[in-house]
Subunit: 332 residues, 2 copies
Amino acid sequence: MDSIEEIDLINLIEKMFDEPAPGLALGIGDDCAAIRPATGFETLITTDTLVEGTHFKRDLTTPDSLGRKSVCVSLSDISAMGGRPKFLLLSINISKDINKTWIVKYLHGFKAMAKRYDCRLIGGNITRSRNLSFTVTALGEVSKGFRIDRSGAMPGDLVFVTGSPGDSALGLDLLNRRGANYTSGERKLIARHQKPEARVEWGQILSSGRIASSMIDISDGLALDLKRVLKASCVGAVVELSRFPLSTEAGKIVKANGAKAWRRILSGGEDYELLFTAPPAKLKALDRFQKSGKIKAVRIGEIVKGKGHLTIIKPEGGELKIKKEGWLYNQQ
Amino acid sequence: MDSIEEIDLINLIEKMFDEPAPGLALGIGDDCAAIRPATGFETLITTDTLVEGTHFKRDLTTPDSLGRKSVCVSLSDISAMGGRPKFLLLSINISKDINKTWIVKYLHGFKAMAKRYDCRLIGGNITRSRNLSFTVTALGEVSKGFRIDRSGAMPGDLVFVTGSPGDSALGLDLLNRRGANYTSGERKLIARHQKPEARVEWGQILSSGRIASSMIDISDGLALDLKRVLKASCVGAVVELSRFPLSTEAGKIVKANGAKAWRRILSGGEDYELLFTAPPAKLKALDRFQKSGKIKAVRIGEIVKGKGHLTIIKPEGGELKIKKEGWLYNQQ
């Protein structure tokens, strides 16, 4: 950094984030933070890293968006267990070419997203590195007995996704083209990549309503993430692309590019939508939530017997084969 | 990495670390880990990053030592609150020039140290980066009412340190000289730098015995870390170097280099010893623990009134001034 000492940055972060919170015994500024987990709950923990060059390019995003996304990526994992996010830790490896203005904008984005999901930053680390990166650890809570693991899918269960997965990867492709004049539809895809949402409320509905039998967030591509569920549950799945909830813009790209576009949609990462399974007996309950606008989920297939095998049926019939199922091998 | 895919590495880590543990509801392999904190305890959380070039040089350490040190750095923060470490998360940013053999050796060192302190790895993240780094998040527990913060020091309290702080910095200086023929004394200093200990048992004694009024671990240099305590507690301190617990080898270096060596000892980081304050009424109890060999701590000074002011008295009398009090501005 050219105009900021790490110590200044720590002081700034302390000022920005030092607020009391329920369950927080000691926040930023000591050797550890201390929390008091509520009785009857489990504590959920997850950590994710965004590295410049690997996960983001500075000329294709803004520091504010990146701050928001850092939070979203980790909260998405809490959502995927049916949990409620509570606390965050942020570790920044700062490269020399980052100035104070940039990092302050990042922190404002981070804070806005944390606030939105009622999360508090309680600690972290600042250090120098040749490569800019952000590691966010999130802590959440879930009532005992309501946690949704990857391993609960059973043959006969139905497979659902929230939102319109694939938009993020298509948006990234558009960004990488570095075009100047995007259509409004294209800008929507780009926004889905740059400013994802964490499906925190939806995850909690699927948990507290005891709807989902298994769940994962789509961070590394739907095909790869679904395979993780299948492997953990020792089952297989058939997904019908005719049921797939394409966004309008993604629909156009599929129409123009066919199987190639489908592969990108199914293997592109960073959707942060929820992929879950539910037994048919839960369909009515899920429908009620859908109709009252509390969740947006679409049934795309069914769980069958089979140790991790995924079959994808094209809209026109016949199987779609995918060689590279995911673009990243991040986990937890 | 030339011969290892991230996915292989994750599988390897799952195999190496997938063991049940008390309080662990769900370990490695899902979106989050889940723990069940015991009633009557607070959960402590801390995170630290070691970056190649900033915190270590690969030619001056071994992957095994670095794995051990990664664990030690974070556990030291749990110790400094009087806590018992329980769980670890490990995020690795892997650069291209790291091969599988190296990383496996690192993991073995990590596991050995985790095992020694009865900690379980429950999650993490693997990603590529231009700069190798390791971020370790540690979770621990402390009985409610027994946590030791930085802010509890009172005028009249005595100041103590464990072990022989400064050895690590002197060892690093020797390493940086890249000499081939170190004396056995020099090798001891080098070992203190490369293979630090986390004072986990000692921290717990100071907590459960209600001895320490404030505590911090010496990670960024005694002078800087003591100042953090003084600032948090709104007090001052006088430290007498005549009382300072120099190791034999550090004593020789001080004899040869005087004030320059003292400055290095007081401002060099990575000791991971404990710096704590205790009221005079606790001296007897502390003595009992000392005599039974359960802790090794030496009184080096006294807390006085004053908002963060530290006075250091040279062995021969007169004040030692230190310009740069610490070499790093990492925190929590």
